[in-house]
């Protein structure tokens, strides 16, 4: 049994995966609706500083050191996290799939060159690489996306290469060669669709990692100072960690839920795509 309905049924049977999906949908809705919910800039001061959550109905999650509304920050920060998560993952997937398929399919020198490049990026600490990129470029969303994308693609490339190697010697690819199909056509029409399922699963994990990495960068104050992000909120909250821990804890919870949601969604996808693996 295969196909979309069966896949959907298997996915919906897994409560953790469904929870992840709900988190992702909520995050997307929050990010889209941020401008409607809180039209003012989340960086503007809207009240007294150090209002604890629940103290004032105007600020349900309280305010930070400067009197900025924390809920507005969380809602607007979802945008940054989501954009960075999706865009960096897209770069990683495009780079990783292309290079991985080429390495596996063509083999030889192509493989050697691509795999050395993969090793180069994988042995480099991704946080430090990202910091270096951020410091040398102007701090902006595209820069952070690029930096994270550049460090995440090797995971996908390795995976895709392994799967391509397995498929390369399968009779179905040999048949296609004998039928006179060009390499480009074999790769695009036959290899890509067959490696997509494993890539989708890894992509959701990479998105989660990207959100974490973005938070780390913003926490260190290397992000765009004019954009609020969950990481920068923790960064500014750390000043008052002893007296007002909620300033760091609330955006921390937001990151935790987002990353957990993406990971659970990825696991759920994996179980639904490979049904044999789960019941053994």
């Amino acid at each position: 049994m295969t196909g979309w309905p069966a896949f959907r049924r298997r996915f919906l049977r897994n409560p953790a995966g469904v929870f992840g999906l709900v988190v992702i949908i909520l995050m997307i809705l929050t990010a889209l609706g941020a401008g409607l919910l809180f039209p003012a800039s989340p960086l503007s001061i809207t009240g007294d500083p150090f209002i604890w959550p629940g103290q004032s109905p105007a600020h349900p999650l309280g305010t930070d050191i400067l009197g900025r509304d924390i809920l507005a920050g969380i809602v607007h920060g979802a945008r940054v996290s989501l954009i960075v998560g999706l865009a960096a993952t897209a770069i990683a997937v495009i780079l990783g799939m292309t290079l991985g398929v080429c390495a596996g399919y063509f083999g030889g020198l192509t493989d050697v060159v691509i795999m050395r490049l993969v090793e180069l990026f994988q042995t480099m600490p991704s946080l430090i690489f990202t910091i270096v990129v951020m410091v040398s470029l102007t701090p902006s969303i595209p820069a952070i996306v690029l930096a994270i994308g550049m460090t995440s693609w090797p995971q996908i490339a390795r995976l895709v290469r392994a799967e391509t190697l397995r498929l390369r010697n399968s009779e179905f690819l040999l048949t296609l060669k004998v039928l006179g199909l060009s390499d480009l056509r074999i790769i695009i029409r036959h290899l890509f669709p067959n490696v997509t399922s494993i890539v989708v699963v890894t992509a959701s994990i990479i998105a989660a990692q990207a959100i974490l990495l973005e938070a780390a960068i913003s926490f260190l104050g290397l992000g765009n100072p004019n954009m609020i992000s969950w990481g920068s909120m923790i960064g500014s909250g750390k000043e008052a960690l002893r007296s007002a821990w909620y300033m760091a804890a609330i955006p921390g919870m937001a990151i935790f839920v987002a990353v957990l949601g993406l990971s659970l969604f990825g696991n759920g996808l994996n179980d639904a795509l490979n049904p044999q693996g789960t019941h053994k």
Binding site: T175, L179, G180, H190, N194
Partner: protein, 604 residues
């Protein structure tokens, strides 16, 4: 030999739960296995024979499997109702099992001696030292040469047949009273199969075991079983002594199964290939089945292979020293006429597939030339190669692996037409429906995905796709070997029919001598990368001259239990390896023409 049943299975029912539905695999099967006999459970894939064996051993995971039934009594205990702990004391100790794939049944990181010794430690409470000594004795028992030395080798140093011997040694180490053998010879070459069958028979006699032998191969049944149960659709359709059933099969299904087994020598006196009788009409006279002469002998050969060699590895790299290379194909020459079928036979590793792949240019020939209608295709690339692809097509063995699982069958067949810009999309669609009809499938099947088809149907789809480009030559690499006998007969008939209609030539690569006898005009026997004998089919089968050809013929099981006495004691030797040191040059071979067109390599 007593008549008392040692394993009594009554009304066994097995179902598999999938997506809320319960799909029955075995529906009320009853049989009993008597002390000291070999009982064969025969049937085609999906008939429930393996599920039965695994249910008796309680190896099926529950769920998804659901096992019910009156009982499976073994030594007074009901196997269907024992706890897992009790089953562990029976498995490998009182009832053992051997499986089809000897490559995956042994632990690759454990010495073979220790794997056998483990059984003694676990079930007989021996110390490791004593157990290792016993293990050597077991290796000796299964006739592994130099057992004491080989006990400390790892599995990868053993060939497939030798690994199956080790697996058997492990299975019978605890002197079980029942051995369940699930297709134990299916993955092996014929000469190795003959050796393993002989081993199982003699061990069964020496150790007084009862053997439940599961197979799809009627020839093997005739060779080994005392009694047999024929299964179809999860039920027993017929059971009795092997002699009685072969002499007088009662059920139509049994008759079809027996008649579908190709018999070596069935073609004596017929010059042309012959179709299998259609199902249910096994008494069709040969004259109706014989194909007309399709060979256009006076024309230029369609393909001429001259001194072809294919070698792998051995090239020095940055981190790779020059060492040895595999001489997969060595100095092979043959030609095929339009409308002719040349069969390339031999055992695994003999280079027959490498030869086929070199002809369709999946392998680069190391030396030699391949002339297609007079033009050398050995080194062509780009557009020339693409044009060549339209003339020469290939069909592979595994119908489950040779179709893209995500592409509809119609799109898969149309793809070559579109890629070669032969037809636009609309006329391609019409052509797809034509092609489907040509291979005996329905037009409405075009929109389905490969997984909705059975193995035989998928192989037809592969043939349809190969035919899309209207090739002159089809290289069929073990294309019917993975199919059930009745399906095999149908696909072979279809291929013969296509040859008659379209004037196709085939290079038919197979290890199955009996099918080869049916389909081929000429036969080439390969051994260690070289052709040792080539000639007209009737000559090769009627008058085999090379010792290897003779050995190959002798090892084919005969589907006739009354001829079992002719047990051909095939000498115990392994296929030598075609790995040669770098720079090795094979000796000059001399061929001797024993009859017109029948060439035999001189020993030396």
């Amino acid at each position: 030999m007593t008549q008392e049943p040692i394993l009594d299975v009554a009304d066994l029912r097995i179902a598999f739960r999938s997506a809320g539905k319960s799909i029955p695999a075995v529906r009320g099967l009853s049989f009993n296995l008597r002390r000291g006999e070999i009982l064969a459970l025969v049937g085609e894939s999906g008939c429930g024979k393996s599920a039965t064996a695994q249910a008796v051993m309680r190896l099926l995971p529950e769920p998804p499997a659901e096992i019910a039934g009156t009982h499976a009594l073994f030594e007074g205990r009901d196997l269907l109702r024992l706890s897992e702990a009790e089953m562990r004391n029976i498995r490998g100790n009182r009832i053992s099992m051997i499986f089809q794939d000897p490559l995956s049944t042994l632990n690759p990181v454990m010495k073979v001696g220790d794997q056998i010794a483990e059984v003694f430690v676990r079930h007989k409470g021996m110390g490791w030292d004593a157990a290792r000594k016993e293990a050597v004795r077991m290796l000796d028992l299964v006739r592994i040469p130099e057992a004491a030395r080989r006990a400390s080798d790892y599995p990868h140093l053993f060939s497939g047949g030798m690994r199956q011997r080790v697996a058997i040694a492990t299975a019978i180490a605890a002197r079980p009273s029942v051995l369940i053998a699930d297709e134990p010879t299916t993955a092996l070459d014929v000469t190795i199969q003959a050796q393993i069958l002989e081993l199982i028979r003699s061990l069964q006699r020496e150790e007084e075991m009862a053997v439940l032998f599961i197979t799809h191969d009627m020839g093997v049944v005739a060779e080994i079983a005392d009694r047999m149960v024929v299964m179809n659709g999860g039920q027993a359709v017929e059971s009795g002594t092997t002699e009685a059933i072969f002499a007088d099969p009662r059920e139509a299904y049994t008759r079809t199964l027996i008649s579908a087994v190709p018999r070596l020598g069935a073609m004596n006196g017929f010059g042309q290939p012959m179709r299998f009788p259609p199902p249910g009409r096994i008494d069709t006279p040969p004259s109706e089945l014989l194909m007309p002469d399709t060979v256009r002998a006076d024309e230029r050969p369609l393909i001429e292979v001259r001194n072809l060699s294919v070698r792998f590895g051995g090239r020095a790299g940055l981190f790779r020293a020059t060492g040895s290379s595999v001489h997969a194909v060595e100095n092979v020459s043959f030609s095929i006429q339009p409308g002719e079928t040349l069969a390339l036979v031999g055992e695994s590793g003999c280079g027959k597939s490498s030869t086929g792949r070199a002809i369709v240019r999946l392998n680069e020939p190391t030396r030699g030339s391949i002339l297609l209608e007079g033009r050398d295709i050995a080194g062509i690339r780009g557009e020339d190669l693409k044009r060549m692809r339209r003339r020469v097509q290939m069909i592979f063995q595994d119908p489950f692996a040779s179709l893209d699982p995500r592409m509809s069958v119609g799109a898969a067949i149309a793809e070559p037409l579109v890629v070669h810009r032969l037809l636009d999309r609309k006329s391609a669609r019409t052509r797809v429906l034509e092609l489907l009809a040509q291979v005996g499938l329905k037009p409405e099947m075009a929109d389905r995905l490969p997984h909705e088809f059975s193995g035989g149907q998928r192989q037809r789809i592969c043939v349809a796709r190969a035919l899309a480009l209207e090739p002159s030559l089809i290289v069929a690499d073990e294309s019917v070997s993975a199919l059930d006998v009745s399906i095999k007969a149908q696909v072979v008939n279809m291929m013969l029919e296509l040859q008659r209609k379209l004037g196709l030539s085939y290079l038919f690569i197979s290890h199955d001598m009996a099918v080869v006898e049916r389909v081929s005009h000429r036969v080439a026997v390969m051994y260690l990368g070289e052709i040792v004998e080539i000639g007209p089919r009737a000559e090769i089968f009627g008058n085999p001259r090379h010792p290897y050809t003779q050995r190959l013929m002798a090892a084919v099981p005969i589907p006739d239990p009354s001829r079992r006495g002719e047990l051909r004691s095939v000498p115990l030797n392994e296929l030598r390896s075609p790995v040669r040191p770098h720079g090795y040059e094979p000796p000059e071979r001399v061929y001797h023409e024993v009859a017109p067109g029948h060439l035999v390599m001189k020993a030396g």
